[in-house]
Amino acid sequence: MDNAPVTPAALEELEAANPDYEVNLVSLNQWQLAWRRFKRHRLAVFGSILFLTICAIAFIGPLIAPFDFYNVPEPVKYCTGSTTLRASNGCPPSLNHFLGTTGGLQRDLLVLVINGARLSLAIGVGASVFAAVIGTIVGGVAGYFGGWIDNILMRVVDVMLSLPLLFVILVVAKFLGGGNWFVVMVVFAVFGWQTIARLVRSLFLSLRSEVFVDAARAVGVSDRRIIFRHILPNAVSPIIVATTLAVASVIVSEAFVSFLGFGVDVTQPTWGNILSNSLTFIPLGNWWWPLFPGLSIVFTVLGINFMGDGLRDALDPRSRD
């Protein structure tokens, strides 16, 4: 079977050469089939567009509306269309400030939310990918070699899963992080690979006993080649799905850790930091301040979850209920 993509020009040539051809059979490879299934999943397409839009905003937004911690806007006494003195309150959403301004320093909320997206997404995606790499290595080694290696590695996973991870992340991020976003990301990865390791291990265990692996071993293929050419490609789909869904949970946890003041430094806007600052102004009725950064988190997470579900259906059709 020829798996090379069929270009339109080649097809025309084929038709010209064989005028009797009525049905053009185009063979699709595994990924093309998955893409076709994914496109049919409307919620997943919607979720991906939502997530990619937010990523684009996070990438381009700060170039247009940059945030500078030391640049504090000129104070305003009255909000647009209001005659009551502003006091230390922020202003509700208006045409000048689409999402309103914060209380106290009166920063524009839109600028904050756009700039916050960058670190929140970077930590979410970075930590999940890094965790997936660690998890795949550990799970793969444990599942492929088995025996005492498997036993030791899985006990380590047991121990780490028994610890209340959020507690541990809080402590480690506080004591080692010092507000550096990269360290926070690494901390999330180091304490987040265990579930993927378990998943990969079980995949390797079942794939290891497949006939094609036996065949490969019988003709003398090396362990390394069996792992990378025969087993890993078959285990990739569930890993991709799990990693995608992990991004959502890391974004939420990171927001919470930053919200408590144990995560990213307060001079850098993340969604968690913005929410954290809003806390003292909520009793003054500044509803827009916590609303918009929170909605950004919800939309991002919702988008990722839809996308992950679509990916699961597309890549692993057997798992559909």
């Binding site: 006990r155 380590v156 047991d158 121990v159 780490m160 028994s162 610890l163 209340p164 959020l166 507690f167 541990v168 809080l170 402590v171 480690v172 506080k174 004591f175 080692l176 959502a248 939420v252 927001a255 919470f256 919200f259 408590l260 144990f262 929410l275 809003s278 806390l279 909520i282 009793p283 003054l284 009725g285 509803w287 916590p290 609303l291 929170g294 988190i297 919800v298 997470v301 919702l302 979850n305 839809f306 209920d321």
Partner: protein
């Protein structure tokens, strides 16, 4: 069966040991520590700091500190792990060889912030956490089972789709943001229906769980209960909304599985009334995995509400943990980490054993 239980218990021991090692390791490599607070004080000399370190055994090598903390080394030397003190058996007074310090003897040390024992500090937080998490737990399990079963029975109905959407949104809601928004909506002006946080109205009611509090409860039971209830509404609502999502989905899929089983089809074919089919044949089997899952969520009753407790200033374990982190209070941190981990291991064990008991198909070995 007994063999299975014993084997599982033995398997848990290295995990518990690993947990103690990781817990100790994390805080050993962390900067700061008990002497960090002296750095700001110019009148304290290095000699005094050294004396302090020596007094608390902080100048020992790390493995010795760990051994002492765990209780396998101490006043009684290598025998320290054995039970200490003395017992009277049949008039005979016997001095036991072991010691009485260290985790193995239930001694978690003293809080750095206020000098009380860690067990005291944690102990007074258990009841508030239990009240909050327990109330939420009962409500959300109840709602999750009812909605999950109903959605499965009426599959593809309007209710089923509505629940699916609600669950998706519930998954995506960060707990802490939901709490903040509930405060913004219902506790901040203009509505001000519920208190912003805390567990009791400090102006009118004495401190929770003190002698005066119970006297007050005895004198005005309704006022006290009403006040507690008002403080409970928002945090419980937060926990319930976020947690229903996962559990009702779980119940739904488990019920769908059960409804597709052959014995359900047989029952229907024999003309058993639909009610009986659902409640007697399907539901009973669908609840098997649900029971295990509910068991696995029990540690949450002691530890899990960290987010909600912080947002609503609820004086429970989670908030104590956050405060202890802020104060670099290592003994309290280690105590909470260790106790919650032990509860998690224990709950996993109980869930596994329960599953083996309720489902005869599970093989013990």
């Amino acid at each position: 069966m007994l063999k299975y239980v014993i084997r599982r218990v033995i398997q848990a021991i290295p995990v518990l040991f690993g947990i103690s090692l990781v817990t100790y390791g994390i805080l050993a490599i962390a900067p700061g520590g008990p002497t960090a607070r002296f750095a700001q004080n110019p009148r304290i000399t290095q000699a005094q700091i050294d004396a302090f370190k020596h007094r608390w055994g902080l100048d020992d090598p790390l493995y010795l500190q760990y051994a002492k903390w765990l209780g396998i080394w101490g006043d009684a030397g290598v025998l320290n792990a054995l039970p200490g003190g003395s017992v009277d058996i049949a008039g005979l007074h016997i001095d036991l060889p072991g010691g009485d310090n260290g985790i193995l003897h239930g001694d978690f040390g003293y809080s750095v912030t206020d000098g009380r024992t860690v067990t005291d500090v944690i102990g007074e937080r258990v009841l508030p956490t239990f009240i909050l998490a327990g109330t939420a737990y009962v409500i959300w399990i109840f709602i999750a089972i009812i909605t999950g079963v109903y959605a499965a029975v009426r599959r593809y109905s309007l209710f089923d789709s509505a629940l699916t959407i609600f669950n998706y949104v519930g998954f995506s809601f960060p707990t802490f943001w939901l709490g903040i928004m509930l405060i913004t909506l219902f506790a901040a002006p203009p509505l001000k229906w519920f208190p912003v946080g805390g567990m009791w109205t400090t102006r009118t009611i004495p401190i929770f769980a003190t002698g005066e509090y119970w006297t007050f409860v005895g004198a005005h039971p309704l006022t006290a209960l009403w006040d507690l209830g008002a403080h409970l509404v928002l945090p419980v609502l937060t926990l319930v909304v976020v947690n229903i999502a996962y559990d009702s989905r779980f119940v739904r899929s488990s019920m769908l599985d059960a409804l597709n089983q052959d014995f359900v089809k047989t029952a229907r074919a024999k003309g058993v009334p639909e009610r009986t089919v659902i409640f007697k044949h399907a539901l009973r089997n669908a609840l098997l995995p649900v029971v295990t899952n509910i068991g696995l969520e029990i540690p949450f009753l002691f530890a899990g509400a960290i987010v909600t407790e912080t947002i609503f200033s609820w004086p429970g374990m989670g908030r104590e943990f956050i405060q202890a982190t802020g104060h670099f209070d290592y003994p309290v941190l280690m105590g909470i980490l260790l106790i919650t981990s032990i509860i998690v291991v224990f709950a996993n064990l109980v869930a596994d054993i329960m599953y083996a008991v309720v489902d005869p198909r599970v093989q013990y070995d």
